[in-house]
Subunit: 302 residues, 2 copies
């Protein structure tokens, strides 16, 4: 059963126990462009106590630089090295884990954030925001869908310019180029914004996953999958037993922590309500629960 953090001693024990905190951002630190009350003080307090903080988000449209601008704008201290968006983690994964060869390139279905992070790791890429790949094809005109043997990976993230040309090219590389990797930044089916929910990165990659089913299985970097964590651990050498994942979603954040043998803290400022984790048939159970990350603030002002 999850242990609910309510008293001063609960809060203190929780803070004393860990050296490293991984934070999901939306629903934990902010809602869109609105900071969650108290969170700024809590993060500053943790830094003051010598804790290491990491920001781990599946949002694949932003580079670390863009995330950093958001942290700056909201007045929260965050170092580039502490930010792990799924775009960056995917670039790291290609470079460090897959040892992606320099003479190959990555075909991108995604936004500029993905391209920026590939560039930061000196990985060659094509597709993405290239105007030639952001146009509609006329019905049954496949003449521009050519082969390219230099493509050694197809990387698919969130892309609001998804189109048939990109899908057909990516599909072709996946089936025709030997050992072509198939990598997704994340596979979230939807995401909430503007008071509704919209198809997410997992929906963008769904056509490719369906078309190559049985032939090729993608590697998914983002939460709840472990490549994201492998990248963080590979870069920062954290002790799992001294690390806690803090998030607002059971099926991404908390599962990510559990699968990675980290401790987990669920905050209730996002999509999950308290009743949900108290159900008898609850499958994903966080180690700790708190109403809001801001509820650690009394420690900061003590």
């Amino acid at each position: 059963m999850a242990s609910f953090i309510e008293s001063d001693s609960d809060r203190k024990a929780f803070i004393d126990r860990f050296e490293n905190y991984l934070f999901d951002c939306d629903g934990v630190i902010w809602h869109g462009d609105q900071l969650i009350p108290g969170v700024k003080d809590v993060l500053a307090y943790l830094r003051g106590r010598g804790k290491r903080l990491f920001f781990v988000t599946n949002n694949a449209t932003k580079s670390r630089e863009s995330f950093k601008s958001k942290f700056d704008r909201l007045g929260i201290e965050a170092d580039l090295d502490e930010i792990f968006g799924s775009a960056y983690a995917t670039a790291l994964y290609l470079k460090r884990i897959l040892k992606f060869p320099e003479h190959k390139k990555v075909y991108v279905i995604g936004e500029k954030g993905v391209e920026d992070e590939l560039a930061s790791e000196n990985i060659r890429y094509c597709g993405g925001t290239d105007p030639a790949d952001n146009e509609f094809l006329e019905l049954m005109d496949f003449s521009s869908v050519t082969t390219d043997k230099e493509v050694g990976a197809v990387l698919c993230g969130f892309d609001m310019h998804i189109n048939y040309k990109k899908l057909a090219k990516a599909h072709r590389y996946l089936i025709e180029n030997e050992d072509c990797h198939f990598i997704l930044t994340n596979d979230d089916s939807t995401f909430p914004t503007d008071g509704s929910i919209f198809p997410g990165s997992g929906a963008i990659s769904a056509p490719l996953r369906y078309a190559v089913a049985g032939k090729k299985t993608p590697i998914v970097v983002g939460k709840p999958n472990q490549p994201m964590l492998d990248c963080i651990l590979d870069k920062h050498h954290l002790d799992r037993s001294k690390t806690c994942m803090i998030g607002d979603r059971l099926d991404t954040d908390i599962l990510f922590g559990i699968n990675g043998q980290l401790s987990t803290l669920l905050v209730l400022t996002g999509v999950v309500k308290k009743a949900e984790i108290e159900q008898a048939d609850a499958k994903i159970i966080p180690e700790f629960v708190i109403d809001s990350l801001g509820d650690f603030a009394p420690l900061a002002s003590a």
Copy 2:
């Protein structure tokens, strides 16, 4: 075990047994724009014998009128009433089986052929080829993805102008409009053309299927699913025991026939090789097999 049609008496017995023949087109009657040798004579012979012929194709981009032009161009007699493309079958399904109400409209992800067939059944539609729905959205600008309570069905076929705006609108109707139907012309993962294979209708609908998984399950009209057959039987009142489905694909055509309690004939002019159906672990077994539909030609010239 499948019975291989080789001798004159095999051919004659096969023709004597059935009153109605359902033909898949590509790989059976033609390859792209090339008639398969002998087929023209065979079809004329069957008509001369008073058989009823129907052309049943998953291709969702063409209306019956467009298919008819192709038959005309290739010099094959075919009546509009004998042609069942998945676009037409889907319109029929909405009208006859679902009794789609006149005051509602269908949101289309698909090409002009789908729109034409909806119009032929006096069904209101939106989306599709409307220029307003065929543009790219800027990153995180969802302002044009508005609600529309008149949408009572999302119809998804093959669409080379697939884009995020269409996906986001369709997704919104599916989750926000009560009882909104979710209908696919077909769910083929890929199709062969120009010497390669390309993502098919099932890939185009994959983002929506993934985003609404667990909330809404689509009705798939095309082969091997049965709504396509329901439409044909509803319109022409065929006796299943006197009807044979002829096709080149096991997992669409032959399965369609088997599931519909029709007899089945596999032709080897398409994707399936003889060895495949002779394997001990073959799962979908046609009742009859012939090298080519053109091999019935000796009967025609006898």
